[in-house]
Symmetry: C2
Subunit: 359 residues, 2 copies
Amino acid sequence: MKPVTYVNSLFEDFPEGAQNPVTQKSQLPKKRSNLRDVAKAAGVSVATVSRVLNEPGVVKPDTREKVQAAIADLKFVPSAAARAINSGRTRFVGALIPTLDNAIFARFLAALERELSAHQLSLVVATTDSDPDIETQKAKELVDIGAEGLIVTGAAHNTGLKDLIEQTMLPTIITSYFDRANPLPTIGYDNAAAAQIALEHLADLGHSEIAVVHGPVHNNDRTRARLAGLNASDCSVELATHETDISLEGGSVVGKQIAALPHKPDAILCLSDVVALGVLFGLQASGVKVPEDVSLVGIDDLPSSAVSVPPLTTVHLPVSTMGERAAAALARWISDQEIPRAEMLEATLVQRQSARRKT
Amino acid sequence: MKPVTYVNSLFEDFPEGAQNPVTQKSQLPKKRSNLRDVAKAAGVSVATVSRVLNEPGVVKPDTREKVQAAIADLKFVPSAAARAINSGRTRFVGALIPTLDNAIFARFLAALERELSAHQLSLVVATTDSDPDIETQKAKELVDIGAEGLIVTGAAHNTGLKDLIEQTMLPTIITSYFDRANPLPTIGYDNAAAAQIALEHLADLGHSEIAVVHGPVHNNDRTRARLAGLNASDCSVELATHETDISLEGGSVVGKQIAALPHKPDAILCLSDVVALGVLFGLQASGVKVPEDVSLVGIDDLPSSAVSVPPLTTVHLPVSTMGERAAAALARWISDQEIPRAEMLEATLVQRQSARRKT
DNA sequence: TTGACATATGTAACTGGTTTCATCAACCTC
DNA sequence: GAGGTTGATGAAACCAGTTACATATGTCAA
């Protein structure tokens, strides 16, 4: 074991301009003190120190004070690992998400973290870049450092990850996706239905030539499910699909392309709001007006969608609720061995001003 | 110790419509197998099993295979805690950030996580809502679960956190802030200078009446530093400050307020880009044109700033670089006990189309 | 044939906590 | 005053790994 050592001057000020020069190592290993040290210093047994830490009520007040003094004196900090080895609990779970760059995942994580925190669980975040191999790799790392459970995005994973989950029997919840028949519990929404809601709204408004802008279908079952929903719809519309990056830039590029089209579509359906906002910017930069010249709808309902000009008609995906539910379900799975049931959350249309009736 | 138990049917399919009903607990505790079990099954000693796990090269191929077979057979997964207790390493660090809702932190985290991952470190995220008490609380939880280091935002923290860091001697790096004289290493930019760059640009363009829109100053030393930079500037301009939430909505509200003003400012300086984009939306919704009627600049340089209409002139803050540097520095601090030096990253003006010369 | 040395494996101590069980004193009851 | 109960504490086992050291076997040179 390499003892962690410190330079003593860490908390002293150093002169201005003397660009903190401490690049040498410490001379005094000054080993971190442990339970035994504290027990010796306080003149009690290790059991008593442990009790002071965990059930202070059962030790006599003056003994307790002696121990606490020793703890403070030795700057004793209990080792998380040693505690974990006995309890079998590490008190954290891992979340595997494609990216942090899309606000939708940031919102999801925020809710997840909030609810996990309420259950005394911390959250380790790992981004996968939508690559199943990276996903599996990161999952292994999470297991390796002791994650007690996993939150994964979508239902498509490579066999490495499935094997890992099966072998370790790690409580794992699938989010952003709903499938009652999945062997692992899914907590999410029906992506196909969400896309259909958006499409039907456009059809209701009288639009029949619709451009669909979506992110990469490769390695993304949510996008594929949404596209499948569109194709399965019985609206009599004509769809032209455009694949691009799920980013403002990606959307903007497509927006400009569509603006340059000799024959423009009646409406544009973007399979996520970031892309929709990007398309809006791209159109506006090209002088195309929304919704006067073309209607635009998205899916997600990001905060930006409510304040953009015009505000974006979109399908609200309850990602915050999803985060809360997933966190609560995982917490109970871990603490009570209660396997969660699948939960479907409702996606709902939010009508704003970016889509209007065809004139 | 509560053994973690599982329902055996977890990976079996269940009939459609029978909404997975497994809410009962398992009958067979089926204790997780450990090193000793594997050793017994393979007919070798625990040391050999350990070697197969950690230095496979030194064990004879056929012994190794026997052991690996036993590992696979018993679905053995080494305990992270037991490993950590010997190595003293838990292989993860914590990051305390105000919120995930602002894309600037999401971008920072993404870079941080990427670089930490390259150093075999995982990242535990904790959001503080800019509340120093929550921050301290979460920091304690992070230490409690074994974080090997900490990344914190800004230099203002309550004494609880400072004591914790001092007592545990936990490697801790301050980001989003630069101060060579801080006892803890800071890796960030000069917030005052960043604000001055934006202000000087507006002054250079001939603007003299400038509205400043900023987030809450309470508990936010970065905002305060930026405001201080503005006040310390020798530009002969007149500043009117507006405080609002750091969000699109917050900015939008102020944008509408400014649009309704009988006497409008020449220019608007927003101390963060989210707010600037919100202001832009608010102005546009009120029929005020940027930059024709009023110039607008932000600070941060978010992806959205490059594609908005008009694209936003802003001050680029190198948060991705900051994330990488902080991760690298923390990783070396942890593994080599090498205390990082403070690093100042340059903030630079990015001229786009939202600010123009006063006519 | 023997000593030197490398290779492969096992034994047991060790990490830093928690927890069971035993001990002992003080108090209460009959 | 004997016997039972309660409260406070300690000794030692235990968790699941790693690792220092010892041992056994095999190879090669002298």
